[in-house]
């Protein structure tokens, strides 16, 4: 299936209807998920109503990690098979992932203030998530700094692959160090530790974030492809003149 998407013209045809479709799905899922999470889900027995930040914070955290993994795969494909669409995909995903990481940090800080009594702690999970955010920024800065797009793509791909080491560190930080941040509650051996009544809105929000990522990714990729086409046409026009 991926190889059918790999042809840029085919990708443009497919994403012409797929991107709006994901957009509609995202709107629907947020319309279901946000009221369910913020109003109709149960309050926590310890934290009370502040637990509702979880429904925004946790999917953002999950997806910031997953998007970096996606960028890693796209970078590898672009580096090894020299595929332009893979480079475009990695660059298109980066600002979305960076925003989710920033959202995770900010909402986490807002959640920590009433529950932990602190806006920030330098424990393993928070520090490694901050490092992930900085790696995202470095990736974006590198892309912007190099004029030649192909070279920028390759060099940024190397940087992205080097930064992949941070992903297991973030995930296992709550296992390796006794941290303030709680250990894994959902994806853990033995099944979820969260009340099932909370899993419904949590996963709805997670899928809503996924649909949002897909929409924005396709939109960014289409914009990048169109920009390259315009640039190519301009160069052809200049050489013909």
């Amino acid at each position: 299936m991926l190889s059918t998407l790999a042809n840029p013209a085919r990708f443009m045809q497919l994403s012409a209807w797929l991107a709006p479709l994901f957009g509609v799905i995202a709107v629907v899922l947020f319309a279901i998920g946000l009221p369910w999470a913020l109003i109709y889900s149960p309050a926590d027995y310890q934290q009370g109503e502040t637990v509702r930040i979880m429904y925004v914070h946790v999917p953002a955290a999950w997806w910031s990690l997953a998007i970096y993994g996606f960028m890693g795969v796209a970078s590898f494909v672009g580096l090894v098979w020299r595929h332009a669409l893979a480079d475009i995909a990695a660059r298109a995903a980066a600002p979305i992932g960076a925003t989710f990481a920033g959202l995770c940090l900010i909402t986490g800080s807002l959640w920590g203030a009433p529950t932990w009594g602190t806006w920030w702690e330098w424990d393993g999970r928070l520090t490694s998530m901050l490092v992930l955010f900085i790696i995202y920024l470095g990736y974006l800065a590198l892309w912007s700094a190099i004029e030649d797009e192909e070279r920028a793509a390759r060099l940024a791909a190397i940087l992205c692959l080097v930064g992949l080491i941070n992903l297991p560190i973030v995930h296992f930080s709550v296992v390796w160090w006794s941290t303030l941040h709680q250990p894994a509650s959902v994806f853990r051996p033995g099944g979820s530790a969260i009340d099932p009544a909370m899993l419904g809105p949590l996963f709805t929000m997670a899928f809503a974030y996924m649909a949002l990522f897909a929409t924005l990714l396709f939109a960014n990729m289409r914009a990048a492809i169109n920009r390259r086409r315009v640039e190519a046409a301009r160069l052809r026009g200049m050489s013909a003149a």
Partner: protein
């Protein structure tokens, strides 16, 4: 002379001759370390508790300052193309450049870490561990810095960009090196620092060589 020996001699001479031997990086290291008590206040108890680990911050900054021109100068004057043509593997050439950087800058800074740590009120018995851990830490910083320098070699005035790219990878050596400086001695923190530094020193040249091949295209 083998290509690696020639590379080492060339790069060591370039770094050593650039500013009167190791004077410039050492001066930077000393200056950065001086900022610490200026910021924290000279109160003895506070400095003794928090001062010694900050020698690591000064060392990291000193490495960052030297990274920008590492590959950029070679890219500009064409010696990078010559290095890529040499019979030695590019990864080994980059490793040799890193080794030259360590000898010219890393080792002097590690040795200067002794008086600086004492000035930051480290107890004397911590100092041998601090110096040795700094030596390893500088190797780790240089290994990570090689990747940042190689990837940004074609970016004019990319010093700040290098810092942004490389700082996340400086975190583990600094975390464990600071634990050593705070009195963990040659215990587990030192071992983890050693492992991390060796990993960076071994893997950094591989990524840097891949980036350099792209730069020369």
């Amino acid at each position: 002379m083998s290509p690696l020996a020639a590379t080492f001699r060339r790069d060591f001479a370039l770094m050593w001759g650039a500013g009167g031997g190791a004077m410039a990086p050492l001066g930077f290291f000393l200056g950065a370390a001086t900022l610490v008590p200026l910021a924290m206040g000279p109160e003895h108890a506070l400095l003794m508790a928090a001062g010694p680990p900050l020698v690591w911050v000064a060392a990291a900054l000193a490495v960052l300052a030297t990274l920008e021109r590492l590959f950029q100068a070679d890219l500009e004057d064409g010696s990078l193309d010559q290095l890529l043509l040499s019979p030695a593997p590019v990864e080994m050439i980059v490793l040799t450049k890193g080794a030259a950087l360590w000898c010219a800058i890393g080792l002097p800074i590690a040795l200067a870490g002794a008086p600086v740590a004492i000035a930051l009120q480290a107890p004397l018995e911590f100092v041998p561990a601090i110096v040795l851990s700094l030596g390893l830490g500088m190797a780790g910083f240089i290994g990570a810095g090689l990747v940042g320098a190689a990837v940004t070699a074609s970016v004019k005035r990319g010093g700040v960009l290098i810092a942004l790219i490389v700082l996340p990878f400086f975190a583990p050596p600094i975390i464990f090196g600071s634990a050593v400086a705070s009195g963990a001695g040659f215990g587990p923190a030192f071992l983890i620092l050693t492992g991390c530094a060796l990993a960076y020193a071994a893997l950094g040249p591989i990524a840097a060589a891949a980036a350099l091949r792209l730069q020369a295209e």
